[in-house]
């Protein structure tokens, strides 16, 4: 049987071979900068992949599994690769092969969650119910600081506490922005709510829908939508990712909306790549491409239709950290900053290494807490020098990870999704 890497290579032959080993990518790679090991650089990982594809390394190679596992999947290497290597696709392919070969060092519990909980909105809702209850309890803060829980559980609690400071439950119909006076509904958009975002970032989602409404959009929330499958694809559970993609395609095909708007960078990147994910599926390939063509990050979409922030000046100094899956994967590089710059009363200060991964990377921070924290500390050091009141970033995982970092460092900085700041200008 052909391996996923083999198939990706057949299609992308010139794209893996396109790596001529120039090495311009190594200094863009967060894990290489931190570890200094060629094996932890994009060029080195491609070298291992090529060796596996050519039979010089077995798929069960521990070195291959280890170094592929340590990759953040931030795709900063794609931004600098002069040769145009599609690193992200090859990474997904090799992870699928490793998973099939049983060589992925992942936890069985993670795999169970991905394949049996994240695939069902109902189960996911009940899974997160205790989490939502917990995050409102004062003792959780003590537990997170205490010593009696294992380190990983404390980390999970810290991240949970960093989800959203504004209390809001999924399904809460309260509006943040009063309905725009005009009540015009010139455009129809479908909102992609996400899975973790729906459960833990209800406030951000509400803000996004309200901001769209304030831009004269009729906002739909297609009822059958599910998780985008990004976590699955990144963990090598490629078939589950494909199954989720098919469900989302069906759910959004029923909508005549001109755009599918998403506020989480990681989901957006996955949705925009459905065409490639289902390229070999005769029934879905074309539909997937059509779906992907409608997907827009919320910042991208608002600029496209003409951003109209509210009148209230915010009088804040803010800085922006680019989520990797927005900047490197979706190549949406200027829209969020452009949006922020046009909000009333803001001073925007630059952040050094704003395009470098913060260490969150999906569930990377739970799986590799040591390295994730090193990257977080690097980010916090740069943040400290900005003197900003607010740090903006448009990805659920980064929001949690960075908030946790800011809290631990004792900074008084708030960490928000740009759309939440935009929402404040209407109040």
């Amino acid at each position: 049987m052909r391996t996923a890497l083999g198939r990706a290579l057949d299609r992308e032959a010139e794209k893996l071979l396109a790596c001529i080993h120039c090495g311009l990518c190594v200094s863009a790679c967060p894990t290489y900068l931190q570890l200094g090991d060629e094996n932890d650089s994009p060029r080195g990982r491609l070298y291992l992949m090529r060796a596996a594809a050519e039979g010089r390394l077995p798929m069960t190679s521990r070195a291959l599994a280890h170094h592929i596992d340590l990759c953040l999947g931030c795709r900063a290497c794609e931004t600098v690769c002069p040769s145009g290597v599609r690193y992200g696709r090859l990474l997904e392919a090799v992870r699928a092969d490793l998973s099939r070969a049983g060589a992925t060092p992942g936890l069985w519990s993670v795999r169970f969650l991905l394949n049996h909980i994240f695939t069902s909105p109902t189960r996911l809702h009940w899974f997160f119910a205790p989490a939502r209850w917990l995050r409102r309890r004062a003792f959780v803060r003590r537990w997170a600081k205490g010593k009696f829980l294992p380190a990983r559980a404390r980390l999970a609690l810290e991240l949970l506490l960093a989800t959203t400071p504004e209390e809001m439950s999924p399904g809460d119909e309260r509006r943040i922005i009063p309905l725009a006076a005009s009540g015009r509904r010139a455009r129809r958009v479908a909102f992609f709510a996400g899975c973790v975002a729906r459960e833990l970032f209800a406030h951000t989602n509400r803000a996004t829908m309200d901001v769209l409404a304030a831009h004269d959009c009729e906002v739909e929330d297609p009822p059958d939508q599910v998780c985008c499958g990004a976590l699955h694809a990144h963990a090598g559970e490629i078939e589950t990712a494909r199954a989720l993609a098919r469900r989302n395609i069906r759910a959004f095909e029923r909508s005549a909306a001109e755009a599918i708007v998403v506020n989480v960078a990681g989901c957006g990147a996955m949705l925009k790549e459905y065409g490639e994910l289902l390229a070999d599926d005769a029934e879905y390939a074309e539909r997937a491409r059509a779906f992907a063509a409608r997907v827009r990050d919320v910042s991208e979409y608002l600029l496209e239709i003409g951003l109209r922030p509210g009148p209230r000046p915010l009088n804040l100094t803010v800085t922006y950290d680019a989520p990797c899956h927005l900047y490197h994967a979706q190549r949406v590089r200027t829209a969020p900053l452009e949006m922020i710059r046009r909000l009333p009363g803001l001073t925007v200060v630059p952040l050094t290494e704003a395009e470098m991964c913060c260490g969150s990377a999906g569930i990377y921070n739970l799986r590799h807490p040591g390295l994730a924290d090193q990257l977080l500390e690097r980010k916090i050091a740069h943040l400290r020098r900005t003197g900003a009141d607010v740090l903006l970033t448009g990805n659920a995982g980064c929001l949690m990870h960075l908030r946790r970092g800011v809290q631990r460092a004792g900074l008084s900085m708030r960490v928000l999704h740009p759309i939440e700041l935009l929402a404040l200008t209407y109040a």
Binding site: E14, L17, A18, C19, I20, H21, C22, G23, L24, C25, V26, S27, A28, Y32, L35, G36, D37, E38, N39, R43, G44, Y47, L48, A51, R56, L57, S61, R62, A63, L64, H67, T79, V80, C81, P82, S83, G84, V85
Partner: protein, 464 residues
């Protein structure tokens, strides 16, 4: 007696000594993937003391070793040709001191070239040598290869910008070469060490000169309908007494590859060649020189000469130029780059001949190079999986090299001899010349353990 691996682990810790063959694979080649040799181990020292202690262990066990930075070198210099231990210095990446008053900085060898310029840019300074791989390559590697770059035309090579070095000699002693001043007291061992391609020892601390940013910079793009016209313009610019800070040529194949990449710079894809010409200095002189360069290019058949309007446009041109080598990866799976220097005046005659050689061997060629110094970089695009094609590549390279030597050229402008060009050494040096070099090398490394198999051809079981 403990094995040398165990001794290294005792010094560096288990984590920082790799000996698992699967994890060594990625270290079998550097930026020039044609030459592959598996090292016996890779180690990650973090201080001069660790480097020295590890070197002592290896010297005692007679195990060969070499230093490696980012592995972007293009002569096979960081390849363990006889097996042995690679010192991966990427973690020694601290900028130790910046002294603007005396215009110098002290860095560890793993500091990335561009990181130094970025660190001093706000204060109005820069580090001049700028190899095309500057966003990744390390200053330690730059010292070993005496690296160049586009701006070396005016500012000189790495050797002109290194004031002092702390070096671990091949027997493990730590010595200082040079200092902070412009002239070394005593023997100029610094000059000897720079460009020794890692065969005289491992630099662990580097003192470099910082330059003030020029008051004005202008970058021009001139496009030509023939490579010969572009070459003549190059000679004419220099003959007119103008010293551009950079004068680069890219041919059509290169332009096409760059324009298809993330570094697309808006270069005209229908031109046979473009020149990127940069002049800098005082505002008044720059204005004058730009006018003169435009005139000269036009007189030599330039279709169009445009001046970059702002810093963003300038940066785009340079990103295109510096990403060119990697962009050529779009054309074929493998790339062989040569690095010969010829007298500038010979460009119009030699360039077409180089294309003819490639055509004769049925190979695709792209040229992107430092025209102002006559430093050629013919790139041959090939597929390393085809052994017959590899042979043709090697034969064509040799012919190109012979041609360059015949017109009075040199074997390397900036990439070093390394492993790749050893066979060409007898083309330019007599046996006596090589013997003299071998004797110097033996002074530093009598046991022949420090990056063996590089620079000098081996004969009769010893370095020549």
């Amino acid at each position: 007696m403990m094995s040398w691996i165990a001794e290294l682990k005792a010094i560096l810790g288990d984590e920082d000594v790799i000996a698992d063959p699967e994890r060594l694979l990625a270290y079998e080649c550097d930026g020039l993937s044609l030459h592959k040799h598996l090292p016996s181990a890779v180690i990650f020292p973090e201080s001069a003391e660790e480097v020295a202690r590890a070197v002592k262990v290896l010297a005692r066990h007679r195990v060969p070793f070499l230093a490696r930075g980012a592995g972007t070198g293009l002569s096979g210099g960081a390849v363990a040709v006889q097996g042995g231990v690679i010192f991966e210095l990427a973690r020694m990446n601290r900028i130790l001191a910046i002294d603007y008053e005396n215009q110098l900085a002290v860095v560890e060898p793993g500091v990335i070239n561009l990181a130094l310029t970025r660190a001093v840019a706000e204060a109005g300074y820069f580090y001049a040598p700028d190899p095309s791989s500057q966003m990744a390559c390390t200053l330690g590697g730059n010292v070993a290869e005496n690296a160049g770059g586009p701006h070396c035309l005016k500012y000189g090579m790495t050797g002109h910008h290194v004031l002092g070095l702390e070096v671990v000699l091949p027997d493990g002693t730590i010595v200082m070469l040079g200092g902070h001043g412009a002239d070394a007291v005593g023997y100029d061992l610094l000059g000897l060490f720079i460009g020794s391609e890692g065969t005289f020892g491992i630099a662990t601390k580097i003192t470099v000169r910082l330059m003030r940013q020029p008051q004005a910079v202008k970058t021009l793009l001139a496009d030509f309908l023939s490579v010969e016209d572009a070459s003549r313009a190059v000679s004419a610019i220099i003959a007119a007494g103008i010293l551009p800070s950079a004068l680069e040529m890219m041919d059509r194949a290169t332009i096409e590859a760059v324009e298809a990449s993330v570094y697309a710079a808006g270069l005209p894809t229908d031109a046979a060649a473009v020149l990127i010409i940069e002049v800098d200095g005082l505002e008044a002189s720059v204005v004058y020189e730009v006018e003169r360069v435009v005139e000269i290019c036009r007189a030599h058949g330039a279709r169009q000469v445009v001046v970059a309007r702002d810093e963003a446009e300038r940066a785009r041109l340079w990103a295109g130029r510096k990403g060119a080598f990697g962009a050529l990866g779009r054309i074929s799976p493998d790339l062989m780059v040569q690095d010969a220097v010829i007298p500038r005046s010979k460009l119009p005659e030699v360039l077409p001949e180089i294309y003819r050689i490639a055509a004769r061997y049925g190979l695709r060629m792209a040229n992107v190079f430092h025209a102002g110094d006559g430093n050629l970089h013919p790139n041959i695009c090939f597929d390393g999986r085809d052994p017959e094609e590899v042979e043709r590549v090697k034969a064509a390279c040799r012919e190109i090299m012979e041609l360059c030597v015949r017109v009075g050229g040199a074997l390397t402008g900036e990439h070093g001899i390394g492993l790749d060009k050893i066979a060409y050494m007898p083309l330019v040096f007599t046996e006596d010349d090589l013997e003299a070099m071998a004797r110097v090398r033996a002074v530093f490394d009598p046991e022949g353990l420090c990056n063996p198999g590089k620079v000098l051809p081996v004969r009769r079981c010893r370095a020549f």
